[in-house]
Symmetry: D2
Amino acid sequence: MKVLDKGFVTLVDIMGDDRSAVRAARVSHGKDISTDEKDRKLINYLMEHGHLSPFEHITFTFHVKAPIFVVRQWFRHRIGMSPNEISRRYTSKNVNEFYIPDHIRIQDTKDKQSSNVYSDEQLREETLEIIEEVYKKSYEAYEKLINMGVAREMARIILPVGEYTEFYLTTNVRALMHFLDLRASSHAQWEIQQYAKALAQFFQKTCPWSYEAYLKHQYKGDILK
Amino acid sequence: MKVLDKGFVTLVDIMGDDRSAVRAARVSHGKDISTDEKDRKLINYLMEHGHLSPFEHITFTFHVKAPIFVVRQWFRHRIGMSPNEISRRYTSKNVNEFYIPDHIRIQDTKDKQSSNVYSDEQLREETLEIIEEVYKKSYEAYEKLINMGVAREMARIILPVGEYTEFYLTTNVRALMHFLDLRASSHAQWEIQQYAKALAQFFQKTCPWSYEAYLKHQYKGDILK
Amino acid sequence: MKVLDKGFVTLVDIMGDDRSAVRAARVSHGKDISTDEKDRKLINYLMEHGHLSPFEHITFTFHVKAPIFVVRQWFRHRIGMSPNEISRRYTSKNVNEFYIPDHIRIQDTKDKQSSNVYSDEQLREETLEIIEEVYKKSYEAYEKLINMGVAREMARIILPVGEYTEFYLTTNVRALMHFLDLRASSHAQWEIQQYAKALAQFFQKTCPWSYEAYLKHQYKGDILK
Amino acid sequence: MKVLDKGFVTLVDIMGDDRSAVRAARVSHGKDISTDEKDRKLINYLMEHGHLSPFEHITFTFHVKAPIFVVRQWFRHRIGMSPNEISRRYTSKNVNEFYIPDHIRIQDTKDKQSSNVYSDEQLREETLEIIEEVYKKSYEAYEKLINMGVAREMARIILPVGEYTEFYLTTNVRALMHFLDLRASSHAQWEIQQYAKALAQFFQKTCPWSYEAYLKHQYKGDILK
């Protein structure tokens, strides 16, 4: 699933589905049998009452490509998140891929945490020109340092946080919901919202009952509804 | 897989295998291609150098039945362990199942943390008689309280820690290895060692390369070799 | 602070107070200066918007004595909870202390997760008699097994979950709030509610602004207000 | 404590010392009394046998200033690490501070994960000139974008990972030891090694017995001895 201009989210592997949460919840009550209708009701009940531990039994592995500044926000989520990221100490692969925005946001002068989409085409062009110029210069300088024999781990200190990086991430539905609460939200930066939306789609496809119940009872954000 | 007199460990679900760790490790180095031989070597390298995060991408769900005192030791492992346990507040199901040892261990008088297997048949019989008598009396009293209308959550306070309980557990190979370090060890209580051995067998079957490399380079216990 | 008939919660050590959360939150905004009024407002803002990570910088160590069945519920909280508990493998100290309820709750026949306080004095006496009888028999049997030389780790399997145990717990305010959400709640078992209330008092005393803002904006339970 | 050219590590707050670990470990054994000699022995015993949970009762809060690329390595440590970092969405404070190395390392051509210190003065000067030029251009472009009204969260995408950032970190001795195992190691990048050494000094000063026992029995790195 394509995200931003050069990024993606791929679902690599999955364990479980709606019924895995049901099964784990039922053991608490010492019950086995279930029907579709009862399973769905139970999932609703769990979400409504905040019994979220059964959702730790559904796990995903994603392969993600995203700009460094997005990844830095992402990895603030520590609980139930197991990442392995490409290392710029070990490889120079694809080092010349940088995030180019397709729109420009201006600083909200009243609310310092907000930004607004920018409609002036001239300013958009000027901004992109500046950004692309810095990307170009940084990359050329990096290349030059590498060619001079400077260690990769040292040369990369000049690479901008708009550079794309890649990682594998294993997480579970409970951790994913917490991520969506904070990042599938208009308070989050627009770029990470796009990744959150992609994850939400995978969540919805694989666990439709849980996703529906989550949106209804638990979701604290505002862009998925 | 049967464990102790009435317990078990069942593998309910699994995500990934040896190659999941390889894949996650390779992203760090920006590499894709691999052969069986190289994958195996990489797993060895990771274990040897303590790069254990790639093993968080292999997850298991187990269904376990074990005595409460074993579960209490088990749940001291908090990292990467997602359990859902039967609740004695909600159900009286199977409340009359208790662990009966098949051997008796005597207290080591020098090392207070040790115990030794007991060979005197008379003492064994006496011990089992005492244990079974307490189990019987506790259970009868529990039944009586329930019949008198006392709340399950209150009646159960007299049930012994030898009572069997059940839980679903989702964990990953890294957390599993840490569990085996401490519990597949002669320092651990004999009963939890049996569960650790069962988990080790599932680990070996599903990730033979990782298991072999773990035993060679990382394993801190002494009973699996 | 005395809890239940023989238990307690003692505050052993503490790091930080309301201002520790403020300080950590301010670094995010690149600000230093603050007044009491602004600090208090900031704490309110953090709680209102669910920015809870600054509250991980306030840590407590508690010494707790509680029945095993309470501790089992308590330790289901894994995030930000570091416990060390007395081990019945290593010591027989105080093994004869058991929880005697001062009231009896009967099973709610409609809501199987609920119980109601019992007012019939005769039934109360009968119930306590049964409970105390099981405690007495179990303890005598334990003593006998120990005297016969049976290992402590084996003899203890007949001890009931109403037995008191002790532990040291280090936690932080964020984890504590999550604990209070679930355990300072009428849905939790009455006994653990008493421990939750004790923790809440320590929280209120040491971080009055955070506690007030927590109750106002975040608290999901119902018994602290 | 100054680290690198413009960074620092400051100890902001602390809870506990060597005796906190002792106290928590003793509860496991049901013991209270202790002498200095016995306490020290117990700490040695715990480290030798890998009983590390008692060291979770000693917590620190640090204030750290470090380049982004160091912080990215640092925050791969998720367990027992509670950070709050300055946000470039919210502030432009000190945005023009970048890491200038005082030595240059060249790529090891055999071991792709290694680098060697560079002794050729001419190449050093050329390298620093290139790095400083990129820093200068990036910062000027950032300033220009900000002056044009572009949102901070968008303008910062061109800032290099050599930029300094700040964070508050609360951690405990167990998590700190794990950090030192991997980062106070010649396998880690030289820059993060300097931060690891600073943390090690704070550890040594506040918990001299634990630090000594850690180096003797647990430490997996090679630069602290």
